[in-house]
Amino acid sequence: MSDTMKENNNTITIDGREIPFKEGQTIMDAALAADIYIPHLCHRPGLKPHGSCKLCTVEVNGRSASACTLPAAKGQEISNNTEALNGVRKTITQMLFVEGNHFCPACEKTGDCTLQAVAYHLDMLDGHFPQFYPRREVDASHPGIVLDRDRCIMCELCVRTSREMDGKDVFAITGRGIDAKLIVNSASGKLADTDITTDDLAAHICPVGAILIKEHGYEVPIGRRTFDLHTIAEPGVEPVILRKGKHADEH
């Protein structure tokens, strides 16, 4: 059987639109390839799917599932961009905001932040729930990178990127339940004593302002940052997010 034939046979339907998928793809992979946006935070093409944020929650033949981890299978009827599901996603985004400490106007990442962009996309106007105000440590020990745990959303993109892309093991999540927190792999527990460098992809992957590169703050003015010029739902925006505002001007 040729590849094209296989593709023709293998289709799933997202919000009434039939799209092809290849063996081994998840629903998210197939959707991204077809320029269909399914909101996501802990997922990034090229990294092992994680399935923790639950922003990509869809309904597959009426059952709740994570699009980023569920393998696409022939004949799946998927609801994605519905009012109910976007409501669920908005609630989840609000939960992520209130469990951490996010003071967007004071954050270097503002405008380039995927959490913020997703919140805009979902018409989130407030945190809705009472703030948790957790106490979390800032680690500024590294000469080139600062770790501000207040903003961490536990997506483990940095954990996986360091492991899978950089061939290191710099980050990990510790603790349990609401006490979960990001740690680094060194005897002192400080970032400076890990083998991370600013050349590592893990130093740039964070979707929020929890991992920032030092001495490059506000190089792109507010108003010309990634999500000032693009929406999160735009096809092909993934590589733009990673380049951050630096190159957003070129678009």
């Binding site: 923790s52 999540i173 339940g177 609401i178």
Partner: protein, 582 residues
């Protein structure tokens, strides 16, 4: 294959076991030990650290030389007793006394619901607490008498089997199941198990024959059998008695499974709360080796199989099969993405069967007596019997075995429960039912249960019960997925607000909305069932909430302004009416 048990058969090189030893030695896990263990076991420092922080029984700062953990279960817990001992010994709950002698805290259900109130002292189980016993304990602690020298009868754990059935009442001759299985051969034996209609006793009720078949057919470098003895669901203690009095049948079920799926290694994952069973279990394993029921050439045939025991360290989520496997792999107990399921990709990514203790014991009997014998009992979709752990407001709590299809009322009559307000069937993750449902029947077609059966009389404050369960889930959430990590805490806070008399109708509506979201969108069974007590109570006992609500106001903030002024009042030495908000 590395061994986790030392040459003496004692637990050894597994990270959880090494951390337990360090915790016992220093009453905490010093940073230096983390670094050493990382070196010794060739693990990243961050992995060792994250395991220490994940499991409740490991601490970064020193606990007292006497470290007491009172169960906070509605059946085997008594936190009032905990507070009175704290007062007696001058201890703040959760903190270590300044002289380092003693620390006291709460822990989730320790499985002693038929003989509570109970606690763990330096990881040993102490049952049947009374005011007098508390006083004696306080005296021993103040006198510095080491726990091993305390009177042995304080630590006695009874089986309390009140009613035998198919499983507990059928005599099992050690080795008979294995002999039958080896004689029949794997295929015929698998057919017996499938024909028996046996379904998993851990809660989900998956067909055991199917599970074994899938695993047998899955390709891998090795296959594994895991016995799930994590028994963490509050109110469940039936695996405890299976392990203490029917261990041969359990191990034999594992071996039979191993023979069928082509495994040469099995693991029993024992909850840390049941550490007191460890020596006896190792002794049984030794006897089985001697009898050539374990090891090489079992019963002289070409079948090698061995069993190791891995002991957990206080984490309910590790009962979830994929989290359990992660824990076996010396990691935090985070449930995996499924599919793939353990039968194709389990321990060390190899095909693995995970079964409950009771399932495996039943399989051993099926090997002897045949599938038809088993399927002849119970109801249509639920073959066989169920071993129940009955606790709460009744005259004779304990272990009762019934054929599936038995009614709730019949069970209540047998254990001497009167004036019953509600029954929690299957533990907090199960179903809360009201008296008009007591004719309902136990079984996969109606009320499924992993074995917990908690009874609440009319004298109980049900809101406290629901609140207890909701706190339990927030405490035990692994923290991996957003709905459960944040949602269980929001539900807990919401219930606390109502219990404190500050809740309004809008708080109840908010909680309902959050509960349905957490139930539907969470990653694993913990989050998917955590809202059950709340949702069941809202449906069946709405008055429990309504009684506590503030009715003359649409909205009350979570924030208590008057309480927030307390610090200012203390500083200004004022407590007059003007220093308070109305």
């Amino acid at each position: 294959m590395e061994s986790h048990n030392g040459p003496t058969g004692q637990t050894g090189a597994h990270l959880l076991h090494r951390l337990f030893e360090v915790q016992q030695q220093y009453m905490h896990i010093p940073k230096q030990s983390i670094l050493e263990l990382a070196g010794e076991l060739r693990l990243p420092v961050s992995q060792v650290e994250s395991v220490v922080d994940f499991y409740s029984f490991f601490h970064r700062t020193p606990r007292g030389r006497f470290d007491l953990l009172f169960s906070n279960c509605t059946s085997c817990g008594d936190t009032a007793m905990m507070r009175s001992l704290c007062k007696r010994l001058n201890v703040t709950p959760g903190e270590t006394r300044a002289d380092g002698l003693v620390s006291i805290n709460e822990t989730s259900c320790i499985g002693m619901c038929d003989q509570g109130p109970a606690l763990l002292v330096n990881s040993r189980t102490l049952t049947g607490l009374t005011a007098i016993r508390l006083e004696q304990i306080a005296a021993q602690i103040e006198a510095g008498v080491p726990v091993p020298e305390w009177p042995v009868e304080w630590f006695r754990v009874q089986d309390n089997v009140r009613k035998n059935g198919l499983l507990l009442g059928t005599a099992f001759e050690t080795g008979s199941g294995l002999r039958a299985a080896l004689e029949k051969g794997p295929e015929a034996m698998l057919a017996e198990v499938t024909q028996s209609g046996l379904r998993g006793r851990g809660g989900a009720g998956f067909s055991t024959g199917m599970k074994w078949k899938f695993c047998r057919e899955a390709k891998g470098d090795a296959h594994y059998v895991v016995c799930n003895a994590d028994e963490g669901e509050p109110g469940t203690f039936k695996d405890r008695i299976l392990l203490s009095s029917h261990a041969h049948a359990v191990f034999e079920g594992m071996s039979i499974c191993g023979h069928i799926i082509g495994a040469s290694k099995g693991y029993l994952y024992l909850r840390g709360e049941y550490r007191y069973l460890l020596n006896d279990l190792h002794a049984v394993l030794k006897r089985r080796h001697k009898a050539r029921l374990l090891g090489k050439h079992i019963l002289g045939q070409a079948f090698d199989f061995d069993i190791e025991i891995i002991v957990g360290a206080g984490a309910y989520i590790c009962g979830e099969e994929s989290a359990l496997i992660e824990s076996m792999e010396q990691k935090r107990g985070i449930p995996r993405v499924r599919p793939p399921f353990p039968v194709t990709k389990g321990y060390l990514d190899q095909p693995t069967v995970v079964n409950n203790v009771e399932t495996l014991a039943a399989a051993a009997l099926i090997a002897v007596h045949g599938g038809a014998w088993f399927s002849g009992h119970g109801s249509e979709k639920s073959a066989g019997s169920k071993v129940l752990s009955i606790s709460g407001d009744c005259t004779t709590p304990g272990v009762y075995e019934y054929p599936f299809g038995v009614s709730i009322q019949r069970i209540l009559d047998d254990c001497g429960a009167e004036d019953v307000q509600a029954v929690q069937v299957g533990g907090p993750s199960g179903t809360l039912i009201a008296p008009d449902e007591f004719e309902r029947k136990l079984g996969f077609e109606d009320l499924a249960t992993g074995g917990s059966f908690m009874i609440y009389s009319k004298d109980r404050d049900l809101l406290k019960v629901i609140s207890n369960f909701t706190h339990f889930f927030a405490h035990e959430s692994c923290g991996f997925c957003t709905p459960c990590r944040v949602g269980t805490t929001l539900l807990k806070n919401g219930l606390d607000k109502i219990a404190s008399g500050h809740g309004t109708k809008s708080d109840v509506d908010e909680m309902y909305r959050m509960a349905t979201m957490v139930k539907r969108r969470s990653h694993c069974g913990l989050g998917q069932t955590a809202p059950n007590p709340l949702l069941d109570a809202l449906k069946r006992f709405p008055e429990v909430f309504e009684q506590r609500l503030v009715h003359d106001s649409e909205f009350e903030p979570h924030f208590d302004l008057d309480a927030a002024l307390e610090e200012a009042r203390q500083i200004s030495h004022r407590d007059d009416a003007e220093a308070h908000l109305a």
